[in-house]
């Protein structure tokens, strides 16, 4: 009980406390008044997240140390479980198709420098790798590949497939891989896209493969499940694969790009969505991330075209891999997301030249897609390895007679699983 009447200052602070929720900025207040206001707010039980942020935003030292001393934390009230992924759970695997990675890594420095990089040099290149300083990385060359896996024929790691060697060696949970001709993109507001954190976000929040949500990813801020979405399906499943997209040079095939040489992808579609169960899609290896613990063995370097080359138009290895992964995910109950993040893909190569050299890939898709669409795994397949072995057997049986590339792929897949088991059991 006070005997003195309250001072004018005290009354003013009390009045401010009454209207505290209507303030948007407190930084004009002198520190001692700010402190008093903070303590009174606490006593009045009026400290909530918004108001706490106001005080923190003033940047005044005494306030900040008081908050520290009281151990007041900004508690996020999640609508979904907030899983925080630590940097050391991530490996960024880069296939160095071109040996000079300077401009690529400089452009990505702000985003990549926190993480460990695994850089695999395309064994077909003779030149030395050029890597700028300041990154935490390990490199592997042809010599390393030969040392670790011997001279196995069925599984080759040349060209774009050299990245799979990185997947094999990594010990991390999350792997992110971006082609070395891709750079950070800008979103519709002109902000640079952090592709790594978007992939991590995709992989660490649930996927919803069993029912389509018309507002796309319900776990994104500002979105949710729509009316009519069954409640029992709202917890979702683990996301095992995150497929990103490209601006500028989209991942079109050679005939399409050759027919429309001026076509560039300028549309930034601000969505992440889950590819529904049993729906197949073509995976673009240009910008991809996955949960190695869940589906690692299913990302495999097995589908090599006879004339596979160094431009994406001359390959379909990722398309094949993607469908294997999707079959595995559908069987094991994992999800696959597509959409954000975008990367900016530089101009490289000539679609017409690629088409002249390699068009088999386009033709083979006619057989590949129906095969995977009807592929069903047995209940005995409990792990990704088991699934891959079953798929390989089916490939050999059903597609082997159509083209030798399929028999080679099936053999390679079996070899790959053996290799995976060997390498991963070695500490």
């Amino acid at each position: 009980m006070r005997t003195d009447p309250p001072s004018l200052l005290s009354l003013a602070i009390d009045s401010a406390l009454l209207h505290i929720s209507s303030f948007s900025d407190l930084s004009f207040l002198p520190e001692h008044i700010l402190l008093d206001l903070f303590l009174r707010t606490l006593r009045a039980g009026k400290l909530n997240e918004k108001i706490l942020k106001l005080f923190i935003a003033t940047g005044k030292e005494e306030i900040l140390s008081l908050i520290d001393a009281f151990n007041i934390q900004c508690v996020l009230t999640p609508v979904l479980p907030t899983i925080s992924v630590k940097d050391d759970e991530v490996d960024i695997v880069i296939a160095a198709i071109q040996p000079d990675l300077t401009s690529f890594l400089e452009e990505w420095r702000a985003v990549f420098s926190r993480f460990h990089l695994i850089i695999i040099k395309d064994p077909d290149h003779k030149e030395e790798l050029k890597i700028p300083g300041g990154f935490n990385y390990d490199t592997y060359t042809k010599a390393d590949i030969q040392r670790i896996i011997g001279t196995s024929n069925a599984v080759t790691f040349s060209g774009f497939s050299c990245r799979y060697f990185g997947y094999l060696l990594s010990k991390k949970k999350y792997i992110i891989s971006i082609d070395d001709d891709c750079f950070p993109a800008k979103d519709n507001e002109g902000n640079q896209v952090d592709a790594i954190s978007q992939h991590i976000n995709n992989l660490s929040t649930p996927a919803t493969p069993f029912f389509f949500n018309t507002l796309y990813d319900p776990f994104r801020k500002g979105a949710d499940f729509v009316r009519g979405y069954p409640f029992s399906l709202r917890s979702g499943v683990s996301c095992a694969l995150s497929c990103g997209l490209c601006l500028n040079l989209a991942d079109l095939d050679a005939p399409t790009q050759a027919l429309k040489p001026a076509l560039r992808n300028t549309r930034y579609v601000d969505a992440v969505l889950t590819v529904p169960a049993r729906a197949m899609m073509p995976l673009s290896g240009i910008n991809v991330a996955f949960d190695r613990e869940l589906v690692g063995p299913a990302l495999l370097p097995s589908f090599r075209l006879a004339k596979e080359g160094k431009f994406r138009w001359e390959t379909v290895e990722d398309i094949w891999t993607g469908m294997c992964v999707k079959v595995v995910c559908d069987h094991m109950g994992y999800g696959v997301k597509t959409g954000l993040p975008y990367v900016w893909r530089k101009e490289r190569g000539d679609a017409v030249e690629s088409l002249k050299k390699e068009w088999e890939g386009v033709k083979l898709m006619e057989e590949v897609v129906p095969f995977f669409q009807s592929m069903r795994l047995s209940p005995a397949a409990n792990t990704a390895e088991d699934c891959v072995v079953e798929i390989a057997a089916a490939v050999k049986e059903q597609l082997g007679r159509i083209d030798p590339v399929f028999t080679r792929a099936a053999d390679s897949m079996v070899e790959w699983v053996k290799l995976w088991k060997t390498v991963t059991t070695q500490t």
Partner: protein, 363 residues
Amino acid sequence: MAGGSMAPTPLLKDELDIVIPTIRNLDFLEMWRPFFQPYHLIIVQDGDPSKIIKVPEGFDYELYNRNDINRILGPKASCISFKDSACRCFGYMVSKKKYIYTIDDDCFVAKDPSGKDINALEQHIKNLLCPSTPHFFNTLYDPYREGADFVRGYPFSMREGAPTAVSHGLWLNIPDYDAPTQLVKPRERNTRYVDAVMTIPKGTLFPMCGMNLAFDRELIGPAMYFGLMGDGQPIGRYDDMWAGWCTKVICDHLGLGIKTGLPYIWHSKASNPFVNLKKEYKGIYWQEEIIPFFQSATLPKDCTSVQQCYIELSKQVKDKLSKVDPYFTKLADAMVTWIEAWDELNPTGEGLTKLSISNGPAK
């Protein structure tokens, strides 16, 4: 190969009807006037038929109230809901056009990120006139849009796509949430403009919202029955959901496509979440049974028309869902009544032929 058509979208003003259910007034049409005026409107007046609904000047329309519905359908009028926007499907039945666009009376013109007014109807027409791709997912979304195409790996034999039966638009501002979500997030607004149209893959179900919806009546019309809701029924706010699930199963069976995404409209009114909860309550539990039913529903090969598929579905509903609640027996019967009423109001050459055959000698 997908061709990005540079030609302007045809108006289709003699081939499209706009169906609007209303119980209040049609003031919202003023905002839509620049886009809707060329078209014929079918207004289905719910609630008290003695109330006069004023239609803004200059629109060409026909209006049906409950008395009209009873007069036209006779005893079959029992399949049309009362005191629920589900009554709109009566408009689909009486229309004589190829395409239908239906919109709620609390939906307004939205703006795209550049600030331009969105002509929702034009986008729906674009969606319906070009093919869908339900058999294989295109990661660049609608490959027929200008500036897009099929991605590497997409088989050429699948690039012709399937005819588009339904175009499902979305909503900015008040999102289409169910009552529990509305209660937990009363202030959430949908501010994200996702610049994409995409096909919902074959075999995947989705929640179809009737607020901003267009469809090809000739391809799928009879499947767009919005069920028994509202007055005297144990459930509400599941009318469009029910139609959507039936429609998707039938589209998958007949090889038709359904698109979702653009266009956006601006949804202005959030209905009372407590009232909604009362209406939806049973639906929230029932949908746990309903969804597996639709997910596993298969139609026999000899069901080649929408009506045949729908009748077959109604049998399966009666068979498998009646144990959930006797409501589904009533609903299954209403589904049959709906098809009978549809065929009566829309006799086809086929129907006339069947009539003459049945008059001939017995097999």
